[in-house]
Amino acid sequence: MQTSSSTIPIETTDFQPEWESKGNSGHFLEKGKIDLSHGEILYIEDLVVSFDGFKAIKGLTLDILSGELRCIIGPNGAGKTTMMDVITGKTGPRNAQVSGRVFLGQTIDLLKLKEPQIAQIGIGRKFQKPTVFENLKVWENLELARKSNKSWRVALTAKVNQDAIEDMEKTLLQIGLEKEAYIPAGELSHGQKQRLEIGMLLMQKPELLLLDEPAAGMTDEETMQLADLLNQLRGTCSIVVVEHDMEFVSALSGETGIVTVLAEGAVLAQGTMEHVKNDPAVIESYLGR
């Protein structure tokens, strides 16, 4: 489903992100809304990222349409994770040399925001290495991730309401961790943590979901289940998946979905799975014969 509606409200109730987009002119914009007037949710142009002279991304240009599920593949070290780091604010002027433009919608310059602000305006991210709150129980992990007002003042008096419980139940079932709901997340196995982290993202109800190798460490069947899950989400939010598992990518992209191949910090090829698979450059540097 392609959304061409002009704006999507991110929050209808009491949500007030603590940021102020300065210098965003052109469109009249309600606070807390992403301007999707051109249909793009994420827009990267000429992105260059270097670490003390080492260029991890060299002039990357990429746009993701609103509601799209985009798969990104590419050799190890191509800059996929780095790209996600930049989008989510983990890598920024604070710890690297970054130039170019990274926009969410038409108006929000992600390079200017901090991590929590980026998360609040609706970008969720799963890390390549699963990170969960080890000393909190599984349900608490989900509860914390749940979309809500995240200021400390509210947290002081916040209650876990019925809606939240229902959300959690649903998510626990989706990720198949209902039996583990009450144990600390630190005691989960690698794959279980992987799923819990995806669950946390679902709770976050992001507009744009970034998944860095979500299927790593899962069995084939689980991988397919995950693919189904992501396919179900299609439409409710935009998704970017980085993966090396070609079957998984195929299952996600289907026949028409676009797959982007990154190599050496730039786009090497882009097109349907079929197209990309047969691209000699991709075969050479990535797929192998």
Binding site: F51, D52, K90, N95
Partner: protein, 541 residues
């Protein structure tokens, strides 16, 4: 032997002094007064000695200085190898040894004696003694015989000393010279690097009680002022250099104190609150070696440090091994708990030292090659003074850094240490003998702290609290430089040292200390991981 030397001196002095018309006779009665209680009497007695015939004066003054002038309250004698010599009649006398005492002199009398004796020492064979006497004559020119100085200069061959002679003579002659000579004298004095000479020049610019200039001649006053200004600019240059040196030297002390911590904490991850106590152990080890040398090899006492340094390394390292084995081994990966346990250990170690060595400080002396100072480049940097012990400690700290660097970066052990620090289990899983590495590494860090303690014993107290004095500074240095970064530790230490030394003259020691701490806090705001922060992904998670 001594007798003969004195005789020699006599002939010299006699031949030197042309006329001694105003030499007054000296009697035993005058001499006995020095042994009394009355200050005024003692002083007048010394004045009489100075005015006595030079040969007698020289002999008595020399005897006073090396404490061989004795008296039983009635007769005064000089102790020589041949027996007790009556200084007046110059014959050996018989006297009851047990009742002999030295006079009770105070600073003032002693310095009077020294100045007076200096005149006679200008001809000494030893250039150092000649220099010393010149210096003390410059400091106090009253009652100086110009003739003696001038004839001594004739015999002088050392260029440096000749300059000094010239300066002294310029000062002595100044009041009585004509304008032309005065200009020359001002030039001579202006080029001098001695503070005393400058003071003399400054004194010439002052007004006397009647409100007239002491130097009434205008041109001369201008010349003096120019000379002083030139001196001043050399002086301020010298002050900057000297500040840098004191800063570096403070830095090297900080570095020595912090180096061990940089290893145990920065690399092994043990927040070692007992680090200061390892310094202390090093210092006490030095003390022990010194005591052993004093008792058994007094001849080699000068070189006890050569043994003390490795011994203090070993002592601290052994203790480190024990601590590692008994306590820290069980705490790896729990850094904050190492903090608590080592805090307990530090209490234990301090109290143990108190029980064994007493709560009081113990004495560790500088060997003579580490005491005193020298004054390099006086013509460029007048007044610049470099103490030997500071200089040696500076080089020692560089040496310690070098050893550390060598061990950590050029040996397999260093590599393994770093691997173990970063991921203990994995290191074990690739075959690193973690237990062994842990002990070695900690012992090495402790040993380096011991070396630091050995050095610190040369400039400060050796007591049970020694460690406490340095622990905070050590942590500051390590944190400022960036934990785990040896280079950072070095820059941090020297940076702090120089910073402190440049601000101390302006805001005082107390505010400097506060200021430096606040600066560190602010600095860490800017660079939360220290100066040499770890970069890249590995630092983030």
């Amino acid at each position: 032997m001594k007798f003969r030397v004195l005789n020699c001196l006599f002939t010299l002095v006699t031949s030197l002094v042309i006329g001694n018309t105003f030499a007054a006779d000296l009697s035993q009665k005058d001499l006995v007064q020095i042994f009394g209680e009355e200050f005024a009497a003692k002083q007048s007695s010394i004045n009489k000695i100075i005015k006595a015939p030079p040969e007698v004066a020289a002999e008595v003054l020399a005897a006073l200085q090396d404490e061989s002038l004795l008296s039983d309250g009635k007769v005064v004698v000089i102790k020589t190898n041949e027996g007790y010599l009556d200084p007046i009649s110059h014959v050996i006398v018989k006297i009851d040894e047990s009742s002999l005492e030295t006079p009770n002199l105070n600073n003032i009398l002693r310095s009077d004696i020294e100045t007076a004796a200096s005149q006679f020492k200008l001809l000494s064979k030893d250039p150092e003694i000649r220099e010393q006497s010149l210096n003390s004559l410059m400091a106090d020119m009253s009652g100086l015989n110009v003739a003696i100085v001038k004839s001594a200069k004739e015999k002088e061959s050392n260029a440096g000393l000749i300059t000094k002679f010239n300066e002294l003579i310029a000062m002595l002659d100044y009041p009585s010279s004509n304008e032309e000579d005065k200009i020359k004298a001002i030039q001579t004095m202006g080029n001098s690097s001695s503070a005393k000479v400058q003071e003399f020049l400054k004194g010439l610019l002052k007004k006397n009680d009647a409100g007239e200039f002491i130097e009434p001649n205008n041109t001369l006053r201008v010349a003096i002022e120019l000379a002083l200004r030139d001196y001043q600019s050399r002086k301020s240059r010298s002050e900057i250099v000297s500040n840098i040196f004191t800063g570096l030297s403070l830095g090297s002390v900080l570095l020595l104190a912090a180096m061990g911590l940089a290893i145990t904490y920065g690399l092994i991850g043990v927040i070692n609150m007992a680090h200061g106590e390892f310094l202390m152990v090093g210092a006490y080890a030095t003390f022990i070696i010194q005591s052993i040398f004093r008792a058994h090899f007094p001849g080699a006492l000068e070189y006890y440090l050569v043994f003390a340094a490795p011994f203090s390394f070993m002592a601290s390292a052994m203790l480190g091994l024990v601590l590692e084995y008994l306590v820290l081994r069980h705490l790896y990966g729990r850094p904050l708990e190492t903090l608590l346990a080592t805090f307990g250990v530090s209490l234990l170690m301090m109290q143990l030292v108190r029980v064994i060595f007493g709560a009081q400080n113990v004495e560790v002396a500088n060997p003579s090659w580490m005491s005193g100072s020298f004054m390099p480049f006086q013509s460029i940097f007048p007044g610049l003074l470099i103490p030997y012990n500071r200089l040696i400690i500076f080089f020692f700290s560089i040496f310690v850094v070098f050893i550390t660097w060598l061990v950590l970066n050029k040996t397999r052990m260093g590599l393994f240490v770093r691997a173990v620090t970063q991921n203990r289990t994995m290191a074990s899983c690739v075959g690193v003998k973690t237990r062994q590495i842990d002990s070695y590494a900690f012992a090495f860090g402790a040993g380096i702290a011991g070396l630091g303690g050995c050095a610190l014993s040369q400039i400060g107290n050796v007591g049970p609290d020694l460690g406490q004095t340095y622990i905070i500074d050590s942590f500051m240095v390590v944190v400022l430089g960036g934990v785990g970064q040896l280079a950072g530790t070095i820059i941090g230490a020297f940076g702090l040292g120089i910073l402190s030394k440049f601000s101390e003259p302006f805001i005082g020691a107390v505010l400097t200390k506060i200021g430096v701490l606040v600066m560190i806090i602010l600095f860490i705001q800017k660079r939360p991981q220290g100066m040499f922060a770890l970069k890249g992904r590995s630092a983030e998670m």
